[in-house]
């Protein structure tokens, strides 16, 4: 049987979900025999996301233009896409700025009010991606095949989700151990 082609993608988030993935510890050694990790984590050069990805875990909310482009690209090239962690599922902490209106509000505080020298808003087309005015969860932008909440999802939950997929089965996302937020 061919190895499963697994990707992980990372949008606007803290990397805690990726860290929790690494908390699988020695199971990573077993995993290495079952899957090819073809992309992890995100490269902002969207041409690099490979074709024919079997499973992709998407961490983070959609917070800037590059997040948006990459997510759309990943969706096109992925059979089974998982919304991975609370930021992907609800926009969570990155989404807290939505209640303040436009992105400019948070930018002004950081770069104009809390700086001492060369006060200006970062702006460098082609290099520094523009923030979206509204941070979105993953499923507002693309179709999602499975939701895995948690801040972060524990390693046990990641294992219980991914292992059935490696056997070609669907995990049962039911009950506190599998779908509790936070």
């Amino acid at each position: 049987m061919d190895k499963i082609r697994l990707a992980t993608v990372w949008l606007g988030g803290c990397s805690g979900c990726h860290m929790s993935f690494l908390d699988l510890d020695e199971w990573l050694i077993e995993l290495a025999e079952k899957v090819d990790i073809v992309f992890s984590p995100v490269a902002s050069d969207i041409k690099e996301y490979p074709e024919n990805v079997d499973v992709c875990l998407v961490e983070g909310a959609v917070a800037n233009e590059e997040n948006m482009e990459l997510l759309i690209e990943a969706r096109k090239r992925t059979k089974f896409l998982i919304s991975f962690g609370d930021c992907a599922v609800t926009a969570n902490v990155p989404g807290m700025r939505n209640m303040l209106g436009k992105a400019e509000t948070v930018l002004k505080r950081c770069y104009l009010e809390l700086s001492d020298e060369t006060r200006q808003l970062p702006h460098f087309p082609g290099i520094v991606p523009e923030l979206l005015d509204r941070v979105r969860p993953v499923h507002e932008v693309v179709d999602v095949d499975l939701f895995m909440p948690g801040c972060p999802p524990s390693a046990q939950r990641i294992l219980a989700t991914v292992e059935p997929l490696l056997r070609g089965e669907l995990p049962e996302m039911k009950g506190r151990p599998m779908i509790k937020f936070g």
Binding site: C17, A43, D116, T118
Partner: protein, 474 residues
């Protein structure tokens, strides 16, 4: 005709990062820039939240070092409440920070940097990651994975979760260690100690082969900043701020975090979301300073534990005094893991660690506070202003990785100047630039390399904006 080379992406630190290299008309490197391209806005959207929520919210800045934010936030809360926390609370907080230093540094060294050291800078990038390491040296990989697990498990035993535990609070911590937990830690200490001793031995044998990297990976004079304890001892949780220079002179000492605005400024460049902290008395950009493992090991008088002190002497001997090469960050990280394990061993046998008196309770007694903690990557400041009800009015955060921003830019420029001549990008430059940045272990770079490869894309762009050449590394 001047050109720009863009490397996109390079590594991640709180999001994506890119590098641009600017060439002069002769095709030599004029300048290089390290761009951070993500921003979330914590300093604004936390306004109006209760102060007690800040530890939980700010932990979500970083999944690699959430404990740093938990502690800095809790310490800010201690000051706003005007409490001195119980001794057990302080020792337990220290235990969690030591565990975090262990797990974070282990990740940096074993999961993502050792593939460079052991498989080679120019080895197949598809294999130059933790899975390649598992294939090439399964014993080392397993021991590294288990060392990180040791740190993560202690965090979980204390706070019930490995990542983002709700445990450190203004006034102390929520719960002590149980006797069973202490037993688990004691049982796992010898193996952890063995792993780090082996890694130190291995790294030292490799060091002689890396003379080029030592010379080019960000070797330059700068100030170093961090916390030191009594008599200048290595410190990670409390103490005073010290600045030293590259000759080992103390430039400023006994500084309080309360006055950080008098010695730290932050500048903004249009091409990065990461601000540029600098040492105010020297101005911007001359006030370049480095923080983190290299700085802490350079500024302290002693590590304060037996084995780590022996290693510090050897480190200083090998570096010829103050280590000015950023490549030595790796070495400093290993010494800090050893020191952390020795401290954990002392703490786990301290009766206070199981004491139920872990928290002081109080209301809002000050309307402002500054908390500081040594994160794995360097000194972290939280500064809050609150109203009478403890609702946040203003937040300022100075993040560890940000303080290395000037130094990381200088490092990238130095590596580019070494590897790019006459418009030619030499083979191996891509990997070196990545590895140069990786020496600083900026937040989030860990996972970038922990599971898979990092593709790179370099464009040579002429003055009209036309792409004249490009290189992909799949």
């Amino acid at each position: 005709m001047s050109k720009t080379i863009v490397i996109d992406p390079v590594t991640r630190i709180e999001g994506h990062a890119k590098i641009s290299v600017y060439l002069d008309d002769a095709g030599e490197v004029e300048d290089a820039r390290f761009h951070v391209v993500e921003f979330r806005g914590f300093e604004k959207f936390c306004e109006g939240r209760p102060m007690w929520e800040m530890a939980g919210i700010t932990a979500r800045i970083c999944g690699i070092c959430p404990v740093s934010h938990l502690l800095a936030s809790a310490k800010t809360g201690d000051k706003i409440q005007a409490v001195k926390i119980p001794i057990a609370g302080e020792k337990l907080r220290r235990m969690m920070n030591l565990a975090q230093i262990t797990q974070s540094h282990a990740l940096s060294f074993f999961h993502l940097s050792s593939p460079d050291f052991l498989l080679g800078w120019d080895s197949d990038p598809a294999k130059r990651n933790v899975f390649g390491l598992i294939a090439a040296d399964p014993d080392l990989a397993r021991s590294g994975i288990r060392l990180r697990q040791f740190g993560q498990k202690i965090i979980e035993l204390l706070g019930a979760k490995k990542i983002h535990p709700s445990w450190a609070v203004p006034g102390g911590v929520r719960s002590p260690l149980s006797e069973e937990s202490c037993t688990w830690i004691r049982d796992r200490l010898p193996e952890s100690r063995q792993t780090i001793e082996t890694a130190l031995g291995l790294f030292k044998t490799l060091l002689d082969r890396f003379s080029t990297e030592v010379e080019t990976f960000g070797k330059f004079p700068s100030l170093f900043m961090g916390l030191v304890g009594k008599d200048g001892l290595w410190e990670h949780y409390d103490g005073k701020i010290r600045f030293t220079d590259s000759d080992g002179n103390i430039v400023a000492d006994n500084l309080s975090e309360d006055d950080y605005e008098s010695y730290l400024g932050e500048a903004v460049e249009p091409w990065s979301y990461l601000k540029f902290p600098y040492y105010k008395p020297l101005g911007y950009p001359n006030g370049i300073y480095r923080v983190g493992p290299l700085a802490r090991v350079n500024i302290c008088s002693r590590m304060g534990t037996e084995a780590a002190d022996r290693e510090l002497l050897e480190f200083r001997d090998r570096a010829g005094g103050v280590a000015t090469s950023s490549f030595y960050y790796h070495y400093a990280r290993l010494i800090e893991i050893l020191c952390a394990i020795e401290h954990i061993e002392q703490l786990v046998n301290d009766p206070d660690i199981v004491s139920p008196r872990t928290r002081a309770t109080a209301g809002i007694n000050n309307l402002e506070g500054v908390g500081v903690s040594e994160a794995p990557r360097g000194t972290l400041f939280h500064h809050y202003k609150v109203d009478e009800n403890g609702l946040i009015k203003k937040v300022n955060l100075i993040i560890a990785t940000g303080q290395n921003n000037l130094a990381m830019n200088k490092t990238v420029t130095q590596i580019a100047q070494h590897f790019i001549h006459n418009n030619e990008i030499q083979e191996g430059m891509l990997n070196r630039v990545e590895a140069g940045i990786r020496a600083f272990d900026p937040c989030l770079s860990c996972s970038t390399h922990a599971a898979g490869q990092m593709p790179l894309h370099i464009e040579l762009i002429d003055a009209k904006g036309t792409v004249v050449n490009q290189v992909y590394r799949q």
